[in-house]
């Protein structure tokens, strides 16, 4: 999810060391002054030569002690806001911000898989974002294509299923072909389902569900009186998953809005607004959001006692 706003001060040590790498479009960065992070990132690359020590491996696999396994959310949704502002703060171009954003996403996907979250939905590109400059949109789609191609093997290895939701009619054909391939290729994976919302808006989702229902009524398949909330839920694009309703929605960059993301599905979702910009939202931000979620009392309109 993209937006441009007044910048807030941030620090991001790993970028400065890895800047030359980002400009060569390399898919991982390494900062010599921040060894632990560097070691973790190296493991994700298939070209890695250095293995983790057993202690570091254990740290990776187990849940942080602040989190309770039985209270982990099944479905987390994220509005990845702040790439543009982050790049501006660093004195870089917007596309550098998006590249850093992809790095941050990879980390969150990995952590979600390890920590037992079953579905992760991310707001990559909204219908409102079509007003962006053409050059930025073209860059975004090519970045998306490159990332999908390079990460495909990794995702298959980590048992991650990818689904794409949104209005795909305006996407480049090569990207559409690749999306179909990746969706087909990962459809049997079960550990984590990553849903990427591209060209998506909550209203559009309800509208296309409504059209689908209208067609079924016209074809005589169902009666108008049979239209209920369950039917709408079946027709929404999130019908690609067993858990269509997020338990937790995280929005980064401090904006206090939902921006037309997953409208119907957010009825009872706990909202968490993080101050950090998306490229800075790493493990610590994620743990903070999950801790906040675990402390909430969810009543769904009823009473606890």
């Amino acid at each position: 999810m993209l937006s441009l706003r007044v910048p807030t001060p941030t620090s991001f040590r790993r970028l400065h060391a890895g800047r030359s790498r980002l400009s060569r479009d390399c898919l991982f960065s390494y900062s010599p002054s921040f060894v632990n992070r560097g070691v973790r990132l190296r493991v994700r690359s298939t070209k890695s030569e250095v293995a983790l020590t057993p202690a570091e491996e254990e740290e990776e696999v187990t849940l942080p002690e602040e989190l309770q396994p039985e209270l982990m959310p099944k479905h987390v949704a994220i509005i990845m806001d702040g790439n543009g502002r982050w790049a501006k703060n660093q004195g870089l171009q917007p596309w550098d911000g998006h590249r850093a954003g992809v790095e941050a996403l990879k980390e969150i996907v990995e952590l979600s898989g390890r920590w037992g979250i079953q579905v992760l939905t991310v707001f990559a590109f909204s219908t409102d974002n079509w007003i962006r400059p053409r050059i930025e949109i073209d860059f975004l789609f090519s970045l998306f294509e490159r990332s999908l191609k390079s990460e495909f093997q990794n995702l298959a290895k980590n048992d991650v299923r990818i689904s794409i939701i949104g209005d795909s009619s305006k996407l480049p054909k090569s990207l559409l072909r690749l999306i179909n391939e990746v969706e087909e290729g990962t459809k049997n994976n079960t550990r984590l389902q990553l849903i990427v919302a591209v060209g998506y808006s909550g209203k559009y989702d309800v509208l296309q569900a409504c059209r689908g229902i209208a067609q079924r009524v016209k074809d005589g398949e169902i009666d108008v009186d049979e239209i209920d909330e369950g039917l709408i839920e079946q027709e929404l694009e999130t019908n690609c998953t067993e858990f269509p309703y997020p338990d937790l929605l995280i929005r980064t960059s401090g904006e206090l809005r939902v921006s037309n993301f997953l409208l119907w599905q957010l009825a009872y979702t706990e909202l968490f607004f993080a101050q950090e910009l998306w490229p800075d939202f790493g493990r610590s931000g994620y743990v903070e959001a999950l801790m906040s979620f675990q402390q909430r009392q969810r009543r769904f309109g009823g009473r606890k006692s």
Binding site: L207, R257, V258, L266
Partner: protein, 294 residues
Amino acid sequence: MAELAGQIKRMNGGINQLLEQIFGFSRRCLFRVISMGPIPNHLAFIMDGNRRYAKKCGLEEGSGHKAGFSALMLMLQYCYELGIKYVTIYAFSIDNFRRQPEEVQCLMDLMLEKIKSLLEKESIVHQYGIRVYFIGNLALLNDQVRDAAEEVMKATAKNSRVVLLICIAYNSTDEILQAVKKSCINKLDNIEASGSYKHEDSDIEAKDMENQEKKIQLVDIEENMQMSVAPNPDILIRSSGETRLSNFLLWQTGNSQLCSPAALWPEIGLRHLVWAILNFQRSHSYLEKRKKQL
């Protein structure tokens, strides 16, 4: 002795009146200052925390809701003084029917009492010229409450200064569902009325256009929403610190600023409202620019 006590009581009454006038004056000055910046057109409230408040203060069951009602009257007064035209409140959700029958009955009795009081001459409705709408699945309410609600809507239909939307027996998913149903019915009626068409193969463009017209559009759904009588809320305030929408105005709050002060609803006050509006003013110019681009 009794005379002295009487004198003290009168003095206290006088002091209270003076304090009230000073506060009122300061408040109006503050509102003048805030009005230098953009003021939201529509504010929505989720009035959460009444029962917790009663428990916290050691009050009996039901008193929390009464305290909540007083807080609501105060907030409405502030909003309308500030020049906010539309205020929407989440009074009772369809999910709340799942609570204990005694609590539901207590809430229904309170709502009936308060809805009827809106018709009185001294009520806030007449003071500010409020047009009242009751939004929700009114068929789920008992006859008395529903009749009272319809009477109030009829009685205030001519008011146009400010608007109060009371969401009662309401769920956003239910509202969207009803709008979807109506859109489907309307489209089917349109198709039937226009009859079936046979096109030549060469007339593809006309056929495409016709197909497009037959497809349900966003405006079709939106005009069938009960909340279409008001513009989308600029700010949504939920008291008691919970940060979730609880199936309230999901369609309409896509771009609304969300505020969740920690105060329980009966504790909500002027400072929370002012804070929310100042935050709104901070991001307003950016949002206006985005709206124009779209």
